[in-house]
Amino acid sequence: MTSLRVRASARAMRSGAIAPVVASLPVSLRPEETTTVSTELLAVDGGVDWPQHLTDAVRQVKGVLMIHPSPVLPDEVPLASSVPVVIDYRFASNPAVSTAASQFHGWPAEALVEVSALVREPTDQDRLLLDQLAILRRLGLPLVDLIRLTWTSHGYYLRGDAQSRTPVLLSSHVTSGAPPQLTVRGLATDVAVELTVPDPSTARPAVLTRTSDEGATTYPTIWETSHRAAWRRLHAAVTKATPVTDLTDLRADLCVAVHALPDR
């Protein structure tokens, strides 16, 4: 396996917990202390100035990991990248999401989907919304419209429609009462699916359960954080040319989110 040299800003090191992730992939990744011509992968924090940092980064390396992006205007998303760019979402990058996607395949319009999340700080909510939109897209339920119902420092409620016309309720609850987590729950006439994704600060596994009139199935646990899964995907994109569409998808999500976000 090709080993790639990794570097990140101090901010990205913290937000993406990069040191333990790189340490957990010692064959695929090697840390670099300083930027050199030999740096192959660069991590960029998704703070509000991320488009400029990303534009700079793609000129220097073979692949970029962008960590938990903040909302920007859709036109600010650089689409024509010469190298793969993978987004490391706090929740949507969890490896259980791809398994869950097969359970939501062909999800009916006559149903309900809710995406709720616990976060610690009100300032986490902008990024959380993009995370929620990304997880819906990765589950095969991209939203085509979104209305803000309420948005305060205590949380938010938004109502959307998936491409399939399934109604979707998104919520955020700001609390220190429990660790951050995100839950996607689908209720249809003959089946219910629930995916609970923990915060990537630990490798506590997501839990995916499908319930029908015949019983319930809980899927195998995957003890891997969103961060580690995102780095593996970037490695594969660089070394095996597996396709990534993260920036295109983010731009599409921002087009939906831009009118639902509160004015700043």
């Binding site: 309900l112 616990l118 119902l149 948005w151 305060t152 949380g155 309720l169 919520s171 209720l187 219910a192």
Partner: protein, 370 residues
Amino acid sequence: MSDAGESRSRLPQSRLGAASDSHTGVGFLGGGAVTQAIHLPALSHLTDLFTVRAVMDASETTARAVAARTGARATTSVDDVLNDESVDVVVVCSPPEFHAEQAIAACRAQKRAVLCEKPLATTVEDASRIVRACAETGVPLLVGTMHAFDPGWIAFAETWGPTQGSAQHIRCSVALPPNQRFEEFATEVTNRAAQVPPSPAPPVAVANLLRGGILGLATHDLPLIRVFLTDPADIVVRAVQTLAPFGYLIVFSAGEQVVELHAYVSNTWHPRWSLEAYADDRIGTVEFTPSYVQAGSATCAVRSAERQVQLGPFDHNGYVEEWRHVYEVTHGHPLRYAPSDLLADLTFALDLARRAEDALVGPTEPDGVS
């Protein structure tokens, strides 16, 4: 409704297990599925306290069949039950449009208590008339909101502490198979009312479905939600829609607080009925057992940073506790929920139903807010 925490059942456990020489007589107005699958099974746990004396139903066949289960007298006459001196407690289980007249008549008949199924009435005016009749006659009134009597909820409220204004978001989620499945776990239902399958319908009919959902299903938990709200009269419906085959999704704010209600009836086997409260520093969860089944109380949890308190399950569900409380009030104990609370509960439910209907049949989507 007052904070539920103040009020554990006051009846000593030993008293319930002991034989009593003063059985309280019960008379039912309405012998349908709720009487058959909820109240009679609950009373079967309390045979040392209560004896069913009379069952009235508009259908003589139903009245006879249901009365025969307990050795009670069958009748098709409301007056027959009200004039029966062996009936101490009248249970109003008729369709909601009859609740007011029957509950008031039971008060005028000077019964020892009236237990009225929810909703108490179909209008605030009717509910006020009932409350006035109770005040004038001194007859205690209870409403069959079993979740408000559930030992799990009561334990939760004690642990959570004062509820009013304590949570920013309150969420009630109900995912259930059709009622019939649970009724049959509780009893064998005689002369079940025909189920009319919902179908796509014009706006007014959809609004009626929504109203039925709020007053028939959400009504179980609205009294519990109301005690969290600082200003329950200040309802603004943010989103509302009905869900096929049956269900609803409602988000409303009351002042700074936001309430999410959704219900979905499906064919999956796993029921889930939960009430959650989100505060800055803690999260409360109450998981109720489905109606009808004799599955004990709700379980609940209060989580705060790195700590979780779990309570329950307790042996009895809210129906049994409701009946224990009926016994208490017929023996001189004060009501757990005052008539003014019951009136406020119904006012809140009807106000929400009206505003949700307006939002549904008016503009297709209410405007968002900042």
